[in-house]
Each structure stands twice: as C-alpha cells, then as structure tokens.
C-alpha cells in the first residue's frame, strides 16, 4: 500500500541495479519505491502544496569503510605484485612494538630485506629509533586519528618498499581498538601484548585479538616480578581466537627472539 496516501498501490519493489560510479560498473540488489502521481484531468478549487515531500527507502548494503577497503585492496595488489609480505602490528601504547622492531631489524639484517611504516599521532621519534638498521623507514603522523588507514599506507608504499623489500612491518598507532577496524592491505595482523598489561586483555578487547592470527607476548623477562600467569593469558587468547599462534619473548634479553626471527624469515622464504 502506498504509505503517503493509503491508495493501495504497491510501489516498493526489488530488482538488480547495474550502474557506474567511481569509474567502474557493478550491480547489486536494489529495493526502492517509485513515486506515483495522483494527477487527474480537472482542477481542484484549492492550491497544491508544490513543495510536498515524499519519503522512500533505498537499500544500500555496502561496507561503511568500503573506500578504505578499496584502497587496502590496491595496496594488497601492489604488495603481491612486488612479492612483499606485509604484517600490521597492533597493540596498546607502550607494549614494546618499536623496541621489538628495533631488535627484529637488527636480527634480520642481511637475511631478509625489511621496511617499516610506522604510525603515531605526533612526532617521528619511532622512525628515528628504527633508522640506521639497514631498512627503509617511513613515519606517518596521523594527527587526530587513532589509527592508520589504507590511503595513508598506500601513499608511502612505493617510497618505502619499492626497492627489493620482502617483508614490510606496518607499526600501527598504539591502540587496542581502533586500528583493528581498518584493513591496510596487509597479509595479516599481529597483536602484541606485554606482560604488564594483564592476562585478560584478549577477552576485554576481542575485536583485535580475535582478528590477529598471531600474538606476541612481550616483556617476558618481567614475569618473575609480576602477578601474571602465562597459561591464563594463553587461555584468554584462545577464547577469542582458537588456534592463535603465540610467541613469548623478551626483546631486551633476547629470550624467544630466535624463534620469532626464524618465523619471520620463513614468511618470505
């Protein structure tokens, strides 16, 4: 029935809708109403409201971040074409991403050609820490944003990874929530969780830990000084991501670093 006038005319229907936008043509299901007029061939003795509005609903069914996802797919295609494996490192601020990367770049130097894109709201402190280790490094300042997006990464890909790089680390802005929503075109996400953060973080922040097939437990050298239980932490990780691959290491003492470096080398193997 017509919602506007109750005249009984069925106006909502669904059909395949082929159209062109942003330079490509595609098709999707499309539910919408057609306006129908109530004109007839004599005059009324009152004025029509020429500004009368009708309401109709169109079905869209699209990802809200589709623009980001399209940029991510372009990054993914570029990386694949250049034979580069890319990992998106996500964790809270202060869990040791940059320190682990420093040690990782040193450990892989001469073995795997690496590059780093690092994101922070402000400063290029991280990039300065990571330079001089044989890998190109590019800092992205996200300013007010709490995450990197695919467009930002795409803007620097060629510059940082264009020259024979095999393994690209994308060090995201320190944040357990927001970065997990933005696909950057990486092969997969790696979550970091430090022993000072509490072993139940995976169940408190499931959006990241359920999306990361690999989690690195950092600062393992501090465990003797903490009320922190490694098996409880592993159980929490498996609650949100059965089959998660877990590394335990200390970038400071070198504990567990060999297994981590071997794993990374095999990724590009």
């Amino acid at each position: 029935m017509c919602k506007e006038c109750g005249c009984g005319e069925e106006t909502t229907h669904e059909h395949e809708y082929v159209h062109t936008h942003d330079g490509h043509t595609h098709s999707h299901r499309y539910t919408h109403d057609h306006g129908h007029d109530h004109d007839h061939d004599h005059d009324h003795d009152h004025a029509h409201d020429v500004d009368a509005a009708a309401v109709r609903t169109v079905s869209v069914r699209e990802k809200i971040l589709s623009k980001n996802d399209e940029a991510a797919e372009r990054n993914r295609a570029w990386l694949k074409a250049h034979g580069i494996v890319a990992v998106n490192l996500i964790s809270s601020p202060g869990s040791g991403k940059t320190y682990l990367l420093e040690r990782t770049l040193e450990g892989l130097r001469g073995r795997v050609p690496c590059a780093v894109i690092t994101g922070d709201q402000r400063t290029d402190n991280d990039a300065r820490r990571l330079m001089g280790k044989g890998a190109p490094v590019k800092q992205i300042e996200t300013l007010n944003a709490c995450h990197l997006d695919a467009g930002q990464v795409g803007g620097v890909l060629e510059e940082v990874a264009g020259n024979g790089v095999k393994l690209l680390f994308i060090e995201n802005v320190g944040n357990l929530v927001c970065p997990s929503a933005f696909d950057l075109g990486e092969d997969f996400k790696i979550a970091l969780l430090s022993t000072t953060e509490g072993e139940d973080k995976p169940v408190k922040y499931p959006s990241l830990f359920s999306a990361a097939p690999v989690t690195v437990l950092t600062k393992m050298d501090l465990v003797p000084h903490l009320d922190w239980n490694v098996s409880a932490c592993r159980a929490a990780l498996r609650q949100v991501r059965p089959g998660v691959f877990i590394f335990e290491l200390s970038a400071k003492t070198g504990l567990g670093m060999e297994a981590w470096l071997d794993y990374l080398a095999k990724l590009v193997g």
Binding site: G35, A54, S59, R61, E62, C146, C178, S180, F182, S207
Partner: protein, 117 residues
Amino acid sequence: MHELSIAQALVEQVERVVRDEKARCANRVMIAVGALSGADPEALRGAFPLVAEGTVAEGAELVVEVMPARVRCTACGAESAAENYFVACAACGSRAVELVSGRELHIQSVELEVEER
C-alpha cells in the same frame, strides 16, 4: 574514537546515495554494527550528527542494529551465539569454529526525502 572516521565515511556514502537518487536529503540511515567490529554504537550515534552537520544527512536519524557474534562449528555444523566472545560451539564445545557474523560495519538502507511529482 575511530567512530569519527567511520561516521565520516558513512556521511560520504549517504551524500552519494542522495545524489544518485536525486533526493532532497536523508531522513534516516540504517546501519549494522557487529559486536566484534571494534566500533562502539554509542560513540557512532554521538559522532554521526557532528559529521552530518551542513550536509544532506544533517538531522537524519541514525538507526544502529547491533549484530551479535555468531560462530559455525566446522566439526558438527551447528551455528551458535559466541557468548561473551568465548569462541566455541555451543552444541559440541568444539573450538574449531568460524565466525559467521559479528564483524559487520555496513550501511543497510537510507530513507530519503524526495520531491513529490
């Protein structure tokens, strides 16, 4: 607060729909937000009017449908709610499950105000 970025992307989509449909403006925007999407429905409701201001989406109501996390068991085939994200099959307890919903961040439909002909 990446909800601001999400709201920004959403308003751009609504603007495009309004343009494509030659409508006047949007009255209501329906979206689906998964429990594991990392987006907070309340924060989205807060961010949307701020970003929509001065656009064809200004004043539009944002309707958020929260999609619970659901898993399908690869062992027994049952589909169940992933209660508190404890990802296991409710029927047989197997951990060999795959997420079938909960990561959505979708625009579903837009109610438009159009000129009556």
